[in-house]
Symmetry: C2
């Protein structure tokens, strides 16, 4: 089994290392050794051991008779997209770790792979070393999947964990993530939630047998979360996680990525640092949780290798994305509980006025925290945060409620709102 | 794809339900529907909907031209063992949930399946709905597995959770487990650790490419654990779990099942009730955790169904158990930290004497708890528990140390000892 590998980055290097270190076990698993016959990359890096492969700066060189599987690890969109399309059209099996290409062009690649009856593996595109694609496609193949939710972006989780543990401000935690190599110099792709949304669109597709559709994913990043919110969430028995969630709700599909309060009764609340974790609920299995490294050279290479071995064994199955047409549910219809952080002037009558607004919108207040030692001073005014945990209500009602609260003369600054996710 | 199902118990009923409820999704996944052509069971149960299958009280009836896969769900050993052997020898693929048969006769069944090139699926034999067999065989196929450890017996975990949460005595917690249907009227198979050991022997085999060997598993149950131990463990930052652990250590394989202190820094410490969880460490993925229902009709049927679908897709791979000869490591060589509960008479000089014994054996005391409010009276003597958490030492040194401690005149009763498991 001969590989043609595109890329010389960290994941490709991890793959070369695993192929070398685990050569015997891999050969035993599939009955023959795996070799690398060709490697292609724009920039040669002679210092990297490419296991005796022939090197070229041309990606086209990989579509060659001495390559049995094309492994796309260059990242980016355009060149990778073209390589995947060319390989599939030439009847070459493809393994890719490229979530951006899949989120945008995955449907046509899957259609092409199905048309030519050629395997397309993308385990490594979601949640690094966690075999989540195989778990949904194969391990839970006999289930109707009801929901998938989890922590899919290690950068966000690292930042929130730092803020939670040390009370760091968002900017300081982001800076630390950048220094440790967990965040890019332009971190927006991660912290704005786009990375998690791409992964969720891929998972939603295989779980619900529907086309990949990024436009159906509601996206909110973590930039507005304050260290104070994490502290109050803890007091209420929750942790704040950047959550990705896809589920079938009233026959429509709901996919959303946003900060969320997760109950301490859910193990997901304790998944910290750069780790990823995903919970899947199905009508057979009930609820399953997978936790592991969401990124990194070796974990991602482990996922790439599982696809390669599956193809080598002649076992690969394409996802049954038969394009079931489902309506994406509107966020307005969403129902959940909410955390609200309301900065108010420290005056008599404030609480009664806040309670009136909630009552007007028929929202119950599940818990309220207002502390005498939390009083602040700014611009000659005394103010204090009032934190409210509401009962379940709809997003549209909450929008109207927040607007009314924000308009009160008593309210001193911007209200912050975080959804509460109550899943088993 | 036509099934011949042996058994009418809870798992078989769960399978019939999932086949009915999820028929469309299953057919979409494999490109054709799954039907049940034959069902066999010693005792007819006409009230059960067997999806139009032909019923017989003879298991042999399943080895028939109109059966494509034999699904063994009768439990027990002899009849199940014969059915599996007969089916494989007739070239019929087999799916089984029977860990007892696999632990005792799995090697010959795997050899027979390999010889006849017939798939043998046993995902459901370990950890119910958790797709742990597929995760090791396929998801981590490119890894050298370093260790597997986890909570594999829901009955033990339920009992320990009850004792921990409510301070219940072992007998009371066991009684409750029996009333809820989580423990058999003769609970010894679960609480003595045999069930977990069978599962561990199966997992060790596929993780380390070695034959299944129950004799290599050291087994200790949970009957000697006291609610007080759980309380002290908590104070020390641990939980007590009934742990199953297999790892390669100094080129030999170590497999053991026993109660263990698990650090609160490990999510496994928070896996409660009847749930199972397994952590796997591999040289590619790093560390992966899977948590889910370890038993129950529908979760187990979900695992059975995943094997059936894999076979129907023509994807099934047999484990590469090429019978690598490894020496089982002796428990004497084991090194770990220990928790000791030492009941001593409340007299001056006791602590110094205990410390002397530890010093003589060159064991450091990591933590000591002795509480003035823990003083007890029995048979006119005042005694008090001293709890010691030691540093790492070998099992043989600890055996000698415990013997010396037990022989002290100061020691009032039986010392209890629990191993501490420190894994990532």
């Amino acid at each position: 089994m001969r590989l043609g590998v595109a890329g010389l980055g960290t994941v490709a290097q991890g793959l070369f290392k695993l192929l070398r270190e685990n050569a015997n076990r891999i050969a035993r698993q599939i009955g023959e050794p795996i070799s690398v016959s060709r490697v292609a990359s724009r920039t040669p890096k002679p210092e990297i051991d490419i296991l005796g492969a022939e090197f070229s700066t041309s990606l086209e060189s990989l579509i060659s008779p001495d390559v049995d599987i094309v492994v796309e690890l260059i990242g980016g969109v355009d060149a990778a997209n073209k390589l995947i399309a060319d390989a599939l059209q030439s009847g070459k099996p493809v393994v890719t770790a490229n979530k951006a290409v899949l989120a945008r062009f995955g449907n046509s690649h899957i259609a092409c792979a199905n048309k030519h009856n050629v395997p397309l593996g993308f385990e490594a595109s979601v949640a690094g070393g966690i075999p989540i694609v195989a778990t949904i496609k194969d391990g839970l193949a006999g289930n109707h999947i009801d929901s998938i939710y989890g922590v899919l972006n290690g950068t966000c989780n690292f930042i929130l964990t730092e803020m939670d543990r040390h009370g760091s401000a968002f900017d300081a935690a982001l800076h630390q993530a950048q220094q440790l190599g967990y965040a890019e110099s332009d971190p927006s792709f991660d912290i704005d939630g786009v990375d998690a949304a791409q992964k969720l669109a891929i998972l939603g597709s295989i779980a619900f047998d529907q086309p990949i559709d990024m436009d159906d994913v509601y996206i909110e990043g973590i930039t507005k979360v304050d260290a104070e919110d994490l502290k109050y969430a803890r007091e209420l028995g929750y942790r704040v996680k950047h959550l990705a969630l896809a589920r079938i709700f009233n026959s429509s599909v709901e996919m959303r990525v946003h900060p969320a309060l997760v109950s301490e009764h859910n193990l997901l609340a304790f998944v910290d640092g750069v780790e990823n974790a995903i919970s899947i609920a199905g009508n057979g299995v009930g609820s399953l949780l997978l936790k592991g490294p969401g990124a990194g050279a070796r974990p991602t290479a482990s996922a790439v290798l599982s696809d390669i071995i599956e193809i080598a064994r002649g076992k690969s199955s394409l996802p049954a994305t038969t394009g079931i047409a489902r309506i994406a549910s509107s966020m307005e219809e969403l129902e959940c509980a909410y955390y609200l952080y309301i900065p108010v002037f420290d005056e008599p009558g404030v609480m009664a006025t806040l309670a009136d607004v909630f009552g007007k919108h028929r929202i119950s207040m599940e818990a309220v925290i207002q502390k005498s030692d939390a009083i602040r001073y700014s611009e000659d005014t005394r103010w204090v945060p009032v934190v409210v945990l509401t009962d379940r209500t709809s997003e549209s009602v909450m929008n109207a409620t927040e607007q009314d609260l924000q308009n009160l003369d008593y309210v001193q600054g911007q209200i912050r709102r975080i959804r509460v996710v109550e899943l088993n």
